[in-house]
Symmetry: C2
Subunit: 429 residues, 2 copies
Amino acid sequence: MLRTHFVSELNPALEGKEIVLAGWIHNLRDLGGKKFILLRDKSGIGQVVVDKSSPSFEITKELSQETAVQVRGFVKADKRAPNGVEVSCQELKILSKAKAPLPLDVADKVKADIEVRLKERLLDLRRLEMQAMIRVQSTAVRTFRETLYRNGFFEVFTPKIIATGTEGGAQLFPVIYFGKEAFLAQSPQLYKELLAGAVERVFEVAPAWRAEESDTPYHLAEFVSMDVEMAFADYNDVMNVVEEVIANVLDNIAKYHEADLAILNHKLPSITRPIKRVTYREAIEILQSQGLQIKFGDDISTPESRILNKVLGQDLYFITDWPADARPFYTRRKERDPEVSESFDLVYRWLELVSGSSRNYTREVLEKELRSRGLNPANFEFFLKWFDYGIPPHAGFGMGLQRFMLMLTGLQNVKEVSLFPRDKKRLIP
Amino acid sequence: MLRTHFVSELNPALEGKEIVLAGWIHNLRDLGGKKFILLRDKSGIGQVVVDKSSPSFEITKELSQETAVQVRGFVKADKRAPNGVEVSCQELKILSKAKAPLPLDVADKVKADIEVRLKERLLDLRRLEMQAMIRVQSTAVRTFRETLYRNGFFEVFTPKIIATGTEGGAQLFPVIYFGKEAFLAQSPQLYKELLAGAVERVFEVAPAWRAEESDTPYHLAEFVSMDVEMAFADYNDVMNVVEEVIANVLDNIAKYHEADLAILNHKLPSITRPIKRVTYREAIEILQSQGLQIKFGDDISTPESRILNKVLGQDLYFITDWPADARPFYTRRKERDPEVSESFDLVYRWLELVSGSSRNYTREVLEKELRSRGLNPANFEFFLKWFDYGIPPHAGFGMGLQRFMLMLTGLQNVKEVSLFPRDKKRLIP
């Protein structure tokens, strides 16, 4: 290891101790006979002073921002420095030189244009804001999984190269698979249902693809899908799981990422538990009472959700029992009200974060739902055949990690929270 | 929820209590006026008795193996039954009927042919052995991640659709990306190196693809790659991480999966720490001393590894310092012995589980290594450009989950431990 300490580990109790740091030149100031280096590592930023009398003073002339260096020196308490200490440099070694000028200033608080940032993504990801985002994301995914482990779910890995799409075939990316045509999975829908039919409770965190033609702040061609499926359960059961996941993630981010939220200048939404559940019919009534021309069967999109957000006084709310014909064929109808389905979306203000439902589990109903959507059951035999093998009632949901991250970071575009986003025009880096 | 208890939660202390179970008919026996049902749920197998006097007796005639049912009944202590209890059925409800006969017997201990098993994978995954495998895998991946979190690593998600291959371009699956040609990533090599150059310590668990033409028990077209990259570190540092991961996983499987190991009839390998590290040169000498015609530069493949396994007396061992020319261009040479590289493989008996190295981190060295392999640096500019931005020394490794699972389960073929394997001839289910 090229260091003895991270900068965040320095404190006045180490006064006089010889230590070795390693990191990047975040900033460099020349104050007469002294050079002040702000040294950045994964833990934060610390201050290194190179005195004219130091044998390394000459080498500081070669330093520029983002050059990687190793510093040996003594800890000195100094109230003006970060953590109350600075490091008096005895030896400075350049590990890897950065060219100057750089196309993006890592230390600059003013954001560059997003196109420049994504092009020079390595430098952009070194910005404190992006580092905070990466840390928050790691905890969010970890907490998602821990919540599911605690509820008896198993982590699974489903195939990403598939013979045909579950949802009919739109927006699929073709793959040439040993000379045959195949596709990239839009979701693990089929496979997670099968696995729930084998081991009951499964989840997966994995890439998924949609050949999105449109360029919006909420869509990616490649995103991380967090999927859950649960047997012998219905949509109310999985809404409870969603709620527990959301609450635990918000708790852990608040608890462990105060500094990151400060860097991001973001306040997490507060939730009241249980999270408000309004039916689609109730939502339509609310919107009508606010003077909107809207009727049963119409979509509830961003402008309508903004109104619901306001009227309900909730940043997070479920809209349940959507019209059955507007949901995918695998969505179960409500027995006592078959015009609607056992389905839900979780909405953050006006952004759909999670979508889930009870699923159909008999071949007869699945075939009927396919036909009513103009689809030919024969083309879905690869899926239907499994329903001859005793697939129990089950329910599940999917959530897009990048949209979830918008709620957790306050950032405005899913491309910012995807490390190397893919969209219609972007394939590198 | 369609149950009040899992079968594993039943015990004599619940005597007389009314409970609801849900699961599959694992087996069914008719003993005169009584039907004995072995009911399987995710927790195990329990015994349900339906007496002739029960109003549900008639319905038992419709039962067949793998039909999903719900059972309401009373708990009765019975020493002969699993967990010391049976459930006296008051009400039996068929949730989802399985057809009979089924193409695969879930309760049969004799294994069907692997081709049949993979074709009827849903039924195969309900077999106790496959359920044990899924549980072990979930804990293995969880422990891998927890070990890395504890060492200050962040979980990341890198793009899977890429413009060009890092390793030169062989064995790539082409993707048609908005009308342009792209490929599926063989590994996150480039991206994990970049991310180590931004936030220092990263890991990823994600699919990776190799268009493998050969059909072996150790290769898949789609596998789960567990990748780690660490800045300001070298190959010795990451070998320590590998060792900690392996030791923690073995500990947790031994601790939490005794019953699963019994189902799998598998004994975990014992390791001595530190895990034995032999250099490639030492390994060649050992093999020569055993009478093999082998010299510096030759590969160490399965037959040679079997000998090393025996001579070293170790089920797990590192072979380090491989000939530099035989490793990828991003592998760093040893400064004092540039014929070899700072690289390692972790071998389980004779199977390569992990491969890692210190990486090159300056443009000059990378360009030289590319040219010495007959590759044109201009074609790698998408990768090289980042090394102008102060990429520090770093090291990392990759391990294939499915090969790791062979060690943990004693199963013999990576297709068995992949839930829905992909190979040259297999694209469904």
